[in-house]
């Protein structure tokens, strides 16, 4: 609980620091504050969690694990931001603050015990993100991203809210436990409103997750936003979205899985194929990452479809692996973008020679995203596949495998560009210390989890 309070207070402190022109203190204060917040979350680990604040929130292990991974991802992204925002604008403090406000919303999203809190969490996060997407005021693409995101986001929030209202109408409460009891006590005569409400919520959350067919905003928003914000959106936000999704569906709707599972199944399969196949045709690395993030949303949903309520561990594993690898990808992208001014695959040509370290960590990230053994991404996929096969969803697994094979092609495109296409001598990029630390650490963790997943697989 203290985690949430700290993360809410921290941005206000940052705003004051900005007011008093203490720019150099921003980054250390943010990082230390977030580390303390993560530590506070971990400290509550073994307590036998009970809902708090009139049953509004529940800090169980699930909530803590996802809070910690989102906070850690945010720390890594914040570390990459040194020097990044300064180039965009003078009001640096605001961006740190807004990012942390978004994080506060995310912590609410993973620990709600009441649908009102879910809605509030999503709104806190979304409103912050609308601003962040449009952070480059004079850039048309950034404005477009912000506007599109805002319109689509508002639309999807409407669906979500409508769904919540319908659930309330049917069950008479926003409380997750009461809603669950409603489904358990009325197995035969659940109100049709309730079903419609579930569908609305699926639509609303799939919008936020960027799952097909509600994914149309993703590529433009991801491409238009500053790369660091894109990194934040495609890792932290996506993790939070899936965590919120899973929490709701495993807590409330487990007993009527027969109803929503087929819907989710269709969404999953469509998402996997659309994300992967469209990613094949991209020339821009950033856009490829956007589409690949759609396909990863598909894999995360796949875990829920295949494993149902027992999927928390798989989802956590996969989200962790995916977040870390994506942060590496975006980190390297930012550096390359700064040098060449372009985010095409071609701008990576010859990186293997000029910057062996960057090329190496990016290779690890791509292998992890593609799910090659000895990386965290493989362990994530392995958990999913074994879970799905244990429930005899063989065809679903075969579809996921086919998609994993397709994805090799576009992930290897960048490896090929870096190592095998030495068109011209390129000047070595200067890698700032923070970048080296974040990228090296992330690559190390990716391999460590890949070789010895025991360190995080027992969390939930």
């Amino acid at each position: 609980m203290n985690t949430l309070i700290l993360i809410s207070v921290l941005p206000i402190v940052l705003l004051y620091l900005g007011l008093y022109k203490a720019k150099n203190a921003l980054l250390p204060v943010t990082v230390i504050g977030l580390l303390v917040a993560a530590g506070l979350a971990v400290a509550q680990w073994n307590s036998n969690a009970q809902p708090i604040y009139h049953d509004m929130m529940l800090f169980d292990r699930y909530a803590i694990a996802f809070s910690v991974i989102t906070i850690v991802s945010t720390i890594l992204i914040v570390l990459l931001s040194k020097g990044f925002f300064e180039r965009i604008s003078e009001h640096v403090a605001e961006y740190y603050a807004i990012m942390l406000f978004a994080l506060a919303g995310i912590v609410v999203m993973v620990s709600y015990y009441n649908l009102v809190m879910l809605f509030i969490g999503i709104e806190i996060m979304s409103v912050s993100l609308y601003i962040l997407a449009g952070i480059r005021k004079r850039d048309v693409a950034s404005n477009e991203a912000s506007l599109k995101y805002f319109l689509m986001g508002a639309f999807s929030t409407g669906f979500l809210l409508f769904g919540i209202a319908l659930l309330y109408g049917a069950s008479g409460s926003f409380n997750l436990a009461v809603i669950r009891d409603y489904t358990l006590t009325h197995p035969r005569n659940i109100d049709p409103l309730f079903y419609v409400g579930i569908l609305m919520i699926i639509v609303g959350l799939c919008f936020k997750l960027g799952a097909a067919p509600f994914h149309f905003w993703t590529p433009d928003v991801y491409e238009g936003s500053p790369s660091l914000i894109t990194a934040f959106m495609s890792t932290v936000v996506k993790t939070a979205g899936i965590a919120a999704f899973l929490r709701l569906f495993s807590a409330c709707f487990a007993s009527i899985a027969d109803f929503w599972m087929p819907v989710l199944l269709v969404i999953t399969v469509v998402t996997l194929f659309i994300g992967n196949i469209t990613a094949l045709y991209q020339h821009s690395f950033k856009r490829m990452l956007a589409y690949s993030s759609i396909s990863h949303a598909g894999y995360l949903l796949f875990a829920i479809v295949a494993l149902g309520t027992a999927s928390a561990n798989s989802v956590f594993m996969y989200a962790t692996a995916y977040s870390i690898a994506s942060i590496i990808a975006f980190g390297v992208l930012i550096l390359v973008q700064q040098q060449s001014g372009s985010d095409d695959f071609d701008s990576f040509n010859g990186l293997g020679k000029s910057n062996p370290f960057l090329a190496f960590v990016l290779t690890i990230a791509m292998l992890s995203l593609a799910g090659i053994p000895l990386t965290a991404g493989f362990i994530g996929k392995f958990f999913m596949f074994s879970g799905a096969i244990s429930r005899y969803h063989i065809w679903l697994v075969v579809i996921a495998v086919i998609n994993a094979i397709i994805s090799i092609y576009y992930y290897f495109k960048v490896i090929i560009a870096m190592y095998f296409r030495n068109t011209a001598e390129r000047v070595a990029l200067a890698v700032p210390g923070y970048f080296g630390f974040v990228l090296g650490l992330s690559a190390f963790v990716t391999i460590l989890i890949g070789i010895y997943p025991g360190i995080i697989s027992n969390f939930i």
């Binding site: 292998l367 090659i372 053994p373 000895l374 493989f378 392995f382 596949f385 074994s386 096969i389 244990s390 063989i394 697994v397 075969v398 495998v401 994993a404 094979i405 090799i408 092609y409 290897f412 090929i416 190592y419 095998f420 296409r421 010895y452 997943p453 025991g454 697989s457 027992n458």
Partner: protein, 489 residues
């Protein structure tokens, strides 16, 4: 002495080689690989040639999921370890004359791959087997794509996706088997103890077969192979053809047939026919090749087809023949690719029609070439003979017509091999080949070692065969028992 040292010395060596300068990396790599060979020989001397698994290690890895780091060496693994550790120093020595850029990375990748393949050959845990199987693929992909020929990018990605696709289905098979075991482990003995229905076994069989057939490769999954062999650097081709494709054969012997004996029995005729079609098809195509490297690539498909057919016949002589032939084919094919490498490096072409009369200008080279060709066409008293004899014998026991077509193809193989020799070495020396200089230094050493091995193993095959004899006998027997028992009910 634990087997871990044997398995991970090359991995440590790979990291160490990275620290060397490009000029000295090859010496360091050679040194490490020779030490590794010494270690392997040490293990062979300690090895008791019975059916038991020796030098076993067992550490918890992800115990929650039933995953353990379990590895050990029985007779079958011992031969594979010998193949691996024997060929790697030869391959490193054979690439001495190439001045690869970033040589330290090149040799580090070779050693990394060696380590991964050693784990494949000794793993007794399904998860470990899969992970090392894929781990061996990564370095060879980079070797081929970084130091390969002109079309390398397209061809290597095809190779990677192709093989990765196959092995993902194997992974599904392994997970499925894991879920059927009562204790939820990946242990191979638990896999052996499973009693699945024919339908279950058939699915798992095909999942495994896909992975192994692509790796070997068996017709019709061979399409990646000739291109990849042609475009890869010589060391890469040698690693692929000499050692890596044996992973497929080994996988079939250890992980496929004994685990799903009924599924195998049910589909035996299909896979054995595919293998024989592959032999005939590849031989016919090899006949028409002008490019020497491609010719050897196709002849390798034919030879491996025969090994696969022998394994699929699943008799004592078939599997035992496959074991000895895997080692000998490895030696011979590395020799053949090295010959072709020497020729193409001097003449800057691999077109056989442009050559001729090299024997006159390079007599030592001619002798070595001849011995290797004779070993490849399986002349008695060369190493190729005993293996092909046993393999054909097992084919004969299975079906005389398949044996006949496979056997005829062996003759065909002799024809195109000798014809290649004739084209390259005999006849009139032309302007191009006149400048051919005889072999020197490391080339002499490599060819000398290979020729000695060819003759030595041809005369004393038992020195290797007695290693795997007991293990093979027990494995073949246990599978046949299972099939018989199932037939009774």
């Amino acid at each position: 002495m634990t087997v871990l040292i044997l398995l991970f010395l090359p991995l440590v060596a790979a990291l160490a080689v990275l620290l060397f300068k490009n000029e000295t990396a090859k010496h360091a790599a050679l040194l490490f690989s020779v030490i590794e060979l010494g270690l392997a020989v040490f293990f062979i001397t300690k090895f008791v040639p019975n059916a038991s698994t020796q030098f076993a290690v067992d550490y918890p890895w992800i115990p929650k999921l039933g995953i353990y780091f379990t590895a050990g060496i029985d007779g079958i693994s011992m031969v594979m370890v010998l193949l691996n550790t024997l060929l790697v120093p030869i391959i490193i020595l054979a690439s001495y004359n190439h001045n690869h850029k970033n040589a330290n990375a090149f040799y580090a990748l070779i050693l990394f791959m060696q380590s991964a393949m050693l784990v494949v050959f000794t793993a007794l845990d399904g998860f470990l087997f899969y992970v090392s199987w894929e781990a061996a693929l990564l370095p060879i992909y980079f070797i081929c794509a970084l130091w390969g020929g002109e079309n390398r990018i397209k061809i290597t990605i095809k190779f990677f996706i192709y093989t990765f696709a196959g092995s993902l289905f194997m992974l599904l098979g392994i997970i499925y088997l894991h879920l059927q075991t009562p204790a939820r482990t990946y242990d191979i003995q638990d896999f052996y103890g499973l009693t699945l229905s024919l339908k279950q076994q058939s699915w798992v069989f095909w999942a495994f077969f896909l992975a192994f057939a692509i790796k070997m490769p068996v017709f019709p999954f061979h399409t990646w192979q000739p291109d990849t062999y042609t475009e890869a650097p010589t060391a890469g081709t040698m690693l692929l053809s000499g050692i890596m494709l044996k992973m497929g054969v080994y996988g079939a012997i250890r992980w496929m047939i004994p685990v799903v004996p009924l599924g195998f029995d049910h589909w035996q005729y299909v896979v054995i026919t595919l293998a024989v079609i592959g032999i005939v098809y590849a031989s016919l195509i090899a006949f028409n090749q002008k490019d020497g490297k491609r010719l050897i690539a196709y002849s390798s498909i034919a030879h491996v087809g025969l090994i696969a057919a022998g394994v699929f016949a699943w008799t004592m002589s078939g599997v035992q023949g496959a074991m000895i032939q895997m080692l000998n084919h490895g030696i011979n094919v590395v020799g053949m690719f090295f010959i072709m490498d020497i020729i193409s490096r001097r003449l800057k072409t691999r077109d056989l029609n442009e050559m001729g009369g090299i024997a006159k200008v390079a007599p030592q080279f001619a002798i070595a070439f001849l011995i290797i060709v004779l070993g490849t066409v399986a002349l008695p008293l060369t190493n190729g003979f005993i293996g092909e004899f046993l393999l054909l014998n097992s084919m004969y026991e299975y079906n005389i017509w398949l044996a006949a077509s496979a056997g005829l193809t062996i003759i065909l193989g002799a024809v195109y091999m000798l014809r290649m020799y004739k084209k390259v070495m005999q006849g009139e020396t032309n302007a191009l080949t006149l400048l051919f200089t005889d072999i020197t230094g490391t080339e002499k050493l490599v060819l000398g070692i290979i020729c000695v091995l060819i003759v030595f193993l041809g005369v004393f095959p038992n020195i290797v065969m007695h290693l795997s004899d007991a293990s093979v006998k027990e494995l073949v027997q246990s599978v046949n028992d299972k099939i018989l028992r199932a037939g009774k009910y």
